[in-house]
Amino acid sequence: MPDSPLVQYLLRLGDDRLVLGHRTSEWCGHGPILEEDIALANIALDLIGEANLLLKLAAQLEGADRTEDSLAYLRDAIDYRNALMVELPKGDFGFTIVRHFFFAVFSLLQMEALQKSTNADLAGIAAKAVKESRYHVRHSAQWVVTLGDGTAESHDRAQRAVDDLWRYTGELFLADDIDREAASQGFGVDPSTLASAWSAQVNDILMRATLTTPNVSYMQRGGRDGKHTEHLGHMLSEMQIVARSHPGASW
């Protein structure tokens, strides 16, 4: 059932992690220090691993002829269901860290709640992802404090990243019919219920980092409906080119 709320919900979960995982993998070989290069590659691996499990489950439940690979490599941007925040170009290290922090806190809250999913497979995936997300939150939060409370330049860049990203945070907590269905059927969580816990944790770290929480009321949206920024198509063209140029190739 391609349009079942559960399949649609899993695509959102999987696409957030696949797209952010790919963006993060762009740092491989370009990290500011060796340890950070390795850390970002590891985080990318965790995210892509989680995406792999989520999209595999979506493909199985869909019951069509698709697999986790065809979902990742053969869908166009308009069929992707990730939030806009994760598709933005990787930016500088400050932007990457602040985005990771915003997403990791959200992901940890989401996965903690999904451990109680009525879908046993999703609950199992969530229980694994919670452990990984804890590391991601700790890693990125420490860096946010280090950069924010660091030199004048690192502070400015971190603050700019916070300001640039803030208007993309609202979409993470927007609930539509699929989310409400997910919550009422019990397989998912209504993201709007995670907003206050997210704000509390994020504000606490931003304060410790001497960074200012922006006062922005307008929030960007559209990713959950397939309305993306121009950046996603460019990213997919790179991510998908081998699979699309050599259909069915294996090695």
């Binding site: 340890e35 691996l45 965790d46 691993g49 199992g124 694994k128 804890r134």
Partner: protein
């Protein structure tokens, strides 16, 4: 060909205990807790495994090695099933395997953290240097050469080393 008694479940675990983790070749996939169950039915066998990390790139190789080890013992039909629940934890690593890790130069994991809150900032080190056994150690990075390890340095013997992360 000499007829032999059919292998038992216990025998199969013994065989799998000879399959080493490709990244940490001193402990087996059984000691690591990756092998969750074995079901036998004549020459057919089903091995249930669970991944350490969602994106662990060694899982495919581990599957291939498990299959190969069992086929070498005459099992023609080997099915490998992957389960995600209960989620793998380093608490499943036996005391014996922890000693092997330390002897190999990898600090074994402490108890897995179960608290809901994420603590931030410097925490007192409880990680013991596998070389000189000092606990005067510093974490350099949460992330090491594989998803399951972090990087440390010993402030007494000055040796960098890896720790198996507790999850």
């Amino acid at each position: 060909m000499v007829a032999r008694a059919p292998l038992t479940r216990h025998d199969v675990f013994e065989i799998l205990n000879g399959v080493m983790d490709p990244e940490v070749p001193v402990i087996s996939v059984v000691e690591l807790g990756i092998v969750r169950d074995v079901e036998l039915s004549g020459a057919d066998i089903v091995v249930t495994i669970t991944p350490t990390y969602s994106g662990c790139p060694a899982m495919r190789e581990i599957e291939t090695e498990i299959r190969g080890a069992l086929q070498a013992q005459g099992f023609t039909s080997v099915e490998i099933r992957t389960v995600y629940a209960p989620a793998w934890t380093t608490d499943w690593i036996s005391a014996e395997a922890r000693a092997k890790l330390e002897a190999y130069g990898i600090a074994p994991p402490g108890p897995a953290v179960r608290d809901e809150l994420v603590s931030i900032g410097r925490r007192p080190s409880t990680v013991r240097c596998p070389y000189c056994k000092s606990t005067h150690t510093d974490r350099q990075s949460e992330f090491g050469s594989t998803a399951c390890k972090s990087i440390w340095v010993c402030r007494d013997c000055r040796q960098p080393f890896e720790e198996f992360k507790a999850i």
